[in-house]
């Protein structure tokens, strides 16, 4: 019978360690998910010069659109701080969308294999960015749920696990433009 309190104590310790480790794992997942967004953004910066290179010969009359893309990319790369960056990224997304809307008007260009490949790459990259954001938000939700739910909230408050905030689109960006990359 003397083993009963010991067994209960052991069970509590095991639960304690497991719950603490889970919180650590979830917090790191949130951080990692945040950096994965940056990885995808970086990938997009690298792709854009190739794209511009391919389309510029065909689009002599559309220099303005191309210049906008190049400028938006430069601005996004140079942007400092999350808010400024989010803004610059959105300008870049817009400019790419208008570029593809213009490509639609050039049958030669649409038929070009390189352009088709790059279009697929850009669609892919745009999707990867939004799925990375989605996964970030999903991770934040799981983490916040664990922090707030009984009984893991006890450990969370003991060891200062604080809630993370979600990635949010700016109010102005909610008006999604009609141009379709597909």
């Amino acid at each position: 019978m003397t083993y009963v309190p010991l067994a209960i104590l052991a069970a509590i310790v095991v639960w304690f360690v497991a719950a603490y480790n889970k919180l650590v794992r979830l917090r790191n997942q949130v951080k990692n998910a945040w950096h994965q967004i940056d990885v995808q953004l970086k990938r997009r910066y690298d792709l854009i010069p190739n794209l511009v290179e391919v389309v510029k010969d065909y689009m002599s009359y559309e220099q303005e659109t191309l210049t906008k893309v190049v400028e938006a990319r430069a601005a996004a790369v140079a942007a400092k701080g999350p808010a400024a960056q989010a803004k610059a990224e959105n300008v870049l997304t817009e400019s790419l969308k208008s570029l593809f809307a213009v490509v639609e008007n050039y049958p030669d260009l649409k038929a070009n294999q390189n352009v088709a490949t790059l279009q697929e790459e850009l669609t892919g990259t745009e999707n990867k960015i939004s799925f990375a954001r989605q996964f970030f938000n999903d991770s934040v939700m799981t983490y916040n749920n664990t922090i707030q739910a009984i009984p893991s909230n006890i450990i969370a408050s003991l060891f200062n696990f604080t809630q993370e905030s979600y990635f949010q689109a700016e109010e102005a960006d909610r008006a999604v433009p009609k141009a379709d990359l597909r």
Binding site: G124, N127, K128, A132, D138
Partner: protein, 371 residues
């Protein structure tokens, strides 16, 4: 039939052309004015469907994919628990029939360990070679590789290996016991005939199998079924504890090895006859639950249940046969390659739910139902 899509002007989500509201944000589509929130849904269900020209779908109360996922996880865990309980019960009753509960359970455990070990280590590479799968080529299968990368980001998984099967049939499967050594394979026919969104849905479904460790789930269930069959067989043939050397009726006497209880012998025989069948039925319902779960989780990854729904529709119409298919691997595919599933195929013994039902559930996740 593919649903002709229409982007919501507010949130950009794809909606069927006939939709009156965006399934995501409830924004009214096409300038039609409508009340907001639940009112909007209730109102649009009530309006005459004939008003929209090509209305194949109507809005319906939405099935949240998170709820669907939770429901399916709970059900498959419950079914698995039942299967395990059946196995232990059989072991215990057989042990009791020989007068020793511990030995029955011990034998059951040893049997399970041996079978599970064999199944676990004779891994997934066999499956891939069976179906002639070749590693995807970065040049030719760019879109597939991009879609897999997108979906693995959404699922938060490490990058799986990607294979293409040369078959014209439309199908796909996932293999691998854990996410780190996972692979997914799709047929060339699938790549040729699905658009990007549909492919995304299929890939998300396969990644959901990987994230849910369904291969492991399936191995454990199959091994339990095998162990139950073996245990029942051993008992019916009386091949252990030297029991077989005695005539069965006198085996229940208190002398020698057979110190058992007559009531337990009868119970054991009944159980040994019924358990293998019950186990098989349980195993198949686990398999179907895991399919529903993967569909719901795929909707969670893509946030676009209609993509997978339309892919399933095309697969059902276009044929899902793959060369090298066999009963040993049928459960792995997105749509069973051996059977055509119609609404009446909800038999107890099938690995997949009827495709029509899966499509209906996916549509419900987008807030639609057939008219």
């Amino acid at each position: 039939m593919t649903v002709p899509g229409r982007a919501c002007p507010k949130c950009g989500a794809g909606n069927p052309a006939a939709a009156e509201h965006c399934y995501l944000c409830q924004e009214p589509l096409g300038g039609a004015q409508a009340p907001d929130g639940v009112q909007a849904l209730a109102g649009s269900v009530g309006t005459t469907p004939g008003a929209a020209p090509a209305a194949a779908l109507r809005t319906a109360p939405m099935l949240l994919f998170t709820d669907a996922i939770r429901h399916n996880i709970r059900l498959s865990a419950l079914l698995f628990g039942l299967l395990l309980a059946l196995f232990l019960l059989l072991g215990a009753v057989i042990g009791e029939a020989y007068g020793d509960l511990g030995r029955g359970l011990g034998l059951a455990a040893v049997l399970y360990a041996i079978l599970a070990g064999t199944a676990y280590f004779s891994g997934s590479s066999i499956v891939l070679s069976l179906h002639d799968a070749k590693e995807a080529d970065p040049g030719r299968h760019r879109q597939l590789l991009n879609v897999v990368e997108e979906m693995r980001i959404a699922a938060g998984l490490p990058a799986p290996r990607v294979y293409v099967m040369p078959s014209d049939g439309m199908n796909a499967f996932a293999a691998g016991r854990n996410p780190r050594e996972a692979g997914i394979a799709v047929t060339q026919g699938l790549l040729d005939r699905l658009d990007r969104e549909e492919l995304q849905g299929v890939v998300a479904h396969e990644l959901a199998h990987i994230k849910g460790r369904d291969t492991l789930y399936y191995i454990c269930a199959a091994v339990l079924v095998g162990a139950i069959a073996l245990l029942a067989d051993m008992f019916l043939r009386g091949t252990w504890f030297g029991y077989g050397r005695r005539a069965r009726p006198s085996g229940v006497s208190r002398e020698g090895g057979g110190r058992g209880n007559a009531a337990y012998v009868v119970l054991g025989i009944a159980l040994a006859l019924l358990a293998p069948l019950a186990a098989k039925i349980l195993q198949m319902s686990i398999s179907r639950q895991r399919e529903y779960h993967a569909d719901a989780a795929a909707a969670g990854f893509t946030r676009n249940p209609l993509g997978l729904a339309s892919a399933l529709e095309k697969i059902a119409a276009g044929g899902s046969r793959v060369p090298g298919e066999n009963r040993g691997t049928q459960h792995l595919f997105i749509v069973n390659p051996l059977k055509e599933f119609r609404a009446d195929a909800s038999a107890l013994m099938s690995t997949h739910p009827p495709t029509e039902l899966r499509i209906r559930r996916l549509r419900a996740m987008a807030g639609f139902a057939e008219l």
